[in-house]
Subunit: 146 residues, 2 copies
């Protein structure tokens, strides 16, 4: 999936005002298809994320089906944001590992987020440069037509 595609794949996670989770804590045992609907990720992708270690351990029903919690939804929201920056999945897996390791990794996690932040700032600058080129070209086409 290119970054360009990502832009339209998201149902919930791209809006700047974040919707609250569909159910209150205590009743948050979502099936995989509910999470798929709410997150815009496919059930396939959700299972794959778990397989590669990008999800914290997801709870299961008595029959072995996944039951996602509000915490899981919050985590997916963060993951979606990080994906949007172009961060490779492997790096996000690393971040997930740090979270699982607990409090001792807080400094390293912060470093990782700071590096990502720099990256995002850089890309915004790049895109603004591209915008200038685009506007220049568009201007040429506009005046050429007249």
């Amino acid at each position: 999936m290119t970054v360009m595609d990502t832009a339209r794949a998201d149902v919930l996670y791209c809006q700047n005002e974040v919707k609250p989770n569909p159910r209150p804590d205590g009743e948050d045992r979502y099936t995989i298809s509910e999470v798929a609907a709410v997150s815009g990720l496919s059930a396939h992708t959700l299972r794959w994320y778990e397989r590669i270690g990008l999800m914290p351990h997801v709870d299961r029903s008595q029959t072995g089906q996944r039951r996602f919690s509000n915490r899981d939804l919050d985590w997916l929201r963060l993951v979606a944001k990080l994906r949007l920056t172009g961060m490779p999945v492997a790096d996000m897996v690393r971040y997930a590992e740090l979270v699982r390791e607990g409090e001792s990794t807080v400094a390293e996690r912060k470093e990782l987020l700071l590096a990502t932040r720099e990256n995002v700032l850089g890309r915004i600058a790049e895109l603004q440069g591209t915008l200038a080129v685009l506007d220049h070209k568009i201007d040429i086409y506009t005046t050429a037509k007249a």
Copy 2:
């Protein structure tokens, strides 16, 4: 190549002040390795771009070797900028076709660039949203440590 990688791959094409072409018009018959050095793209990639129709017809020496012109360099600069926006290669090939078809396609080309422009604006907004999330997280880690 992810968008994240793109950021460091470019030698010339990412700077906002564009360097002039290495040689003046009339002496602009660059070999593929010269273009590779100056553009930051590999010779492999340059040949591949030509194969898929992303380059205008490149001139050849008597022995069949490519000789790139200043126009080709300019085109590659534009392509690099468009790649940076996440525009799929297939879309750029379409744009290249329009250019080859001549003046009659100016309106369609302008449409394409306008759509790309909207896309870029959208992505900048996304990234700024992500920045806010990142700053929030970083802030949490900072105050938690203190």
